[in-house]
């Protein structure tokens, strides 16, 4: 009869990226079950809709998460525009897509750096974050902020990007491509990295669908689902194919995210080439009607994010809800952790790209 021990893992742990607690039931180095516990960064941000009007709440929505900051303000603005039935000018839609795809590039490169740090390859981590600084410099030049951009507003965007700046963005992305390809080779073809990633944390296609998983976590198990196909905003005008892998293990998740960065660079170049001229904002002054409801989905770097807004006739909303991708992926994570080695736990937790501050708002 082997002994089962319960090892508490987190929220403070050197390899754990997010404040999540796991109770690991372990038998002789193999994890039998994992019970998650969250609640360390709950801030109750959804209650702030009651004291801030819908124009001011966008700044609260941005600060839910530092990495997906622009994504939250974009999704919130789109939901309120649906609620108020406001039509956003085309140039603003293209600008939002450019910033959102840059946000995706910076989030994926950040994640790849964290993954490298998790299996011990620190110099790869430093190189990834060095490349990410170039993207943050683009944000600083075009919006005035590095991480929290504060550039999306209800009705459009606050700033325009001129043609010379767009050309500069294209140059920076071209400069990133060569070094990024070398980093990809280090992730996808190196033998020691492969030893840590292949065959770990396998989730089958049926399980992935039943668990309600979203994002690259889902696409690595072979399910073809990506919200950008739905064509909200300017996504409908860009050519796009979701990247899918059928392996379902950690290596497949790294591959999907690495290839998504290259695809995002192509989408940005397409958007820069076809951006139309025009205004970037329409003034929005009226209040939502009493009882009006709207909901919206957006493909953030971590997966599909669902927004719901309800109005009550005043300038404050009645209810605003954001269901973030990590909330949907936690169930999948507990399934993936069954049967793995104790040393692989942090690798699996990291490959779902957790963002606990988003999940708990």
């Amino acid at each position: 009869m082997s002994n089962a021990t319960v090892i508490p893992f987190g929220p403070q742990h050197p390899v754990l990226p997010e404040p999540l607690h796991l109770d690991l039931v372990v038998q002789d180095e193999t994890v039998v079950e994992a019970i998650p516990q969250i609640g360390y960064v709950h801030r109750g941000l959804e209650r702030l809709v009651e004291t801030r009007d819908y124009h001011q709440f966008i700044y609260v929505a941005e600060r839910i998460c530092g990495i997906c900051a622009f994504g939250h303000s974009y999704g919130y603005a789109e939901t309120i525009e649906k609620l108020l039935k406001v039509e956003v000018p085309e140039r603003a839609q293209y600008l939002r897509v450019i910033w959102h795809e840059l946000s995706r590039i910076h989030s994926h490169i950040l994640w790849m750096g964290l993954a490298a740090d998790a299996f011990g390859f620190e110099s790869l981590f430093m190189h990834c974050w060095r490349l990410r600084e170039r993207v943050l410099d683009i944000f600083e030049r075009t919006t005035g902020g590095r991480v929290i951009l504060s550039v999306c507003r209800v009705g459009g965007v606050a700033r325009d990007i001129e043609a010379s700046e767009l050309a500069h963005i294209k140059d920076v992305l071209d400069g990133i491509k060569d070094e990024y390809n070398q980093l990809c080779k280090a992730f996808l073809e190196d033998t020691s990295v492969k030893n840590r990633l292949v065959g770990i944390g396998y989730i089958s296609k049926e399980d992935a669908h039943a668990m309600g998983m979203v994002g690259p976590f889902l696409r690595a198990s072979g399910v073809n689902y990506d919200c950008r196909i739905l064509g909200n905003g300017a996504y409908g005008k860009l050519d796009y194919e979701p990247i899918i892998s059928n392996d379902g293990d950690c290596y497949a998740r790294v591959k999907v995210r690495a290839l998504e960065v290259v695809q995002s660079i192509e989408m940005i170049e397409q958007a820069i080439a076809t951006i139309p001229d025009g205004d970037v904002i329409v003034p929005v002054k009226h209040n939502p009607e009493d009882g009006a409801e709207a909901c919206n989905v957006l493909e953030q770097p971590r997966g599909e994010c669902f927004y719901y807004a309800k109005g009550n006739g005043t300038k404050n909303l009645e209810r605003m809800r954001m269901r973030t991708p990590t909330a949907a992926n936690v169930a999948g994570m507990t399934v993936a952790l069954k049967g793995c080695d104790l040393a692989d736990v942090n690798m699996i937790v990291l490959t779902i790209d957790p963002c606990i501050s988003c999940m708990e708002r």
């Binding site: 969250i38 360390y40 709950h42 739905l230 064509g231 719901y308």
Partner: protein, 196 residues
């Protein structure tokens, strides 16, 4: 394909049947949310398949009403159901992984059901303004109806108006008289039409 969103009401006892049906048809549970209202908590369940999102709302759930859990069909619901139990004080039963009230470290019980004093004042002010607007609209409509039904006396009106324009400069007086005549002609035409 564009995103289509729909909102439907739902009764609490039909919930398990609906979720079993959706699971079989290949729909995904997207989220469960609660909204605090005066009569209780409105629970909204959202299901998604391809490009359609359907939202089902169970209105006015009180803390004592038992709601069954859908974690039997959709394991992902345990996060949302635990959150609703803790923040709104409802009792959703048979959740697959039940945290028993310890999911979030809160400083108070059922925080989302508490309305702060400033908020209460703001809501009362909005309700008062709405009631006042409704009353004013009703009074204006009644006044209009009364004015329409009372018979008009054109001679008396003209005499009263002549009194007023005696003091005005000549061009303005001529304008007012011309307008009066046009109005009288229009009213006569309308009266004629109504009589037909």
């Amino acid at each position: 394909m564009a995103l289509i969103t729909e909102f439907h009401p739902l009764e609490a006892d039909k919930l398990l049947e609906l979720s079993a049906q959706r699971c079989k048809d290949g729909w995904r549970l997207v989220q469960i949310l609660g909204t605090n209202t005066e009569n209780g908590v409105d629970l909204t369940y959202s299901f998604m398949k391809d490009n359609v999102i359907e939202n089902f709302c169970i209105p006015s759930v009180k803390p004592e009403d038992p709601i069954p859990s859908v974690t039997g069909d959709f394991l992902v619901a345990f996060v949302f159901e635990n959150e609703i139990n803790e923040l709104f004080g409802l009792s959703i039963q048979n959740i697959a992984i039940d945290f028993g009230g310890k999911l979030y470290r809160k400083s108070m019980d059922k925080p989302f059901t508490i309305i702060s004093p400033e908020q209460k004042a703001a809501r009362e002010k909005a309700a008062k303004a709405k009631a006042a607007a409704e009353a004013a609209a009703k009074a204006a409509a009644a006044k209009k109806a009364a004015a329409a039904s009372a018979p008009k006396d054109p001679e008396a009106e003209r005499a009263a108006l002549e009194e007023k324009i005696k003091n005005m400069p000549p061009e303005a007086a001529a304008k007012v008289r011309a307008a009066m005549e046009a109005k009288a002609k229009r009213e006569a035409a309308e009266a004629g039409k109504a009589g037909e």
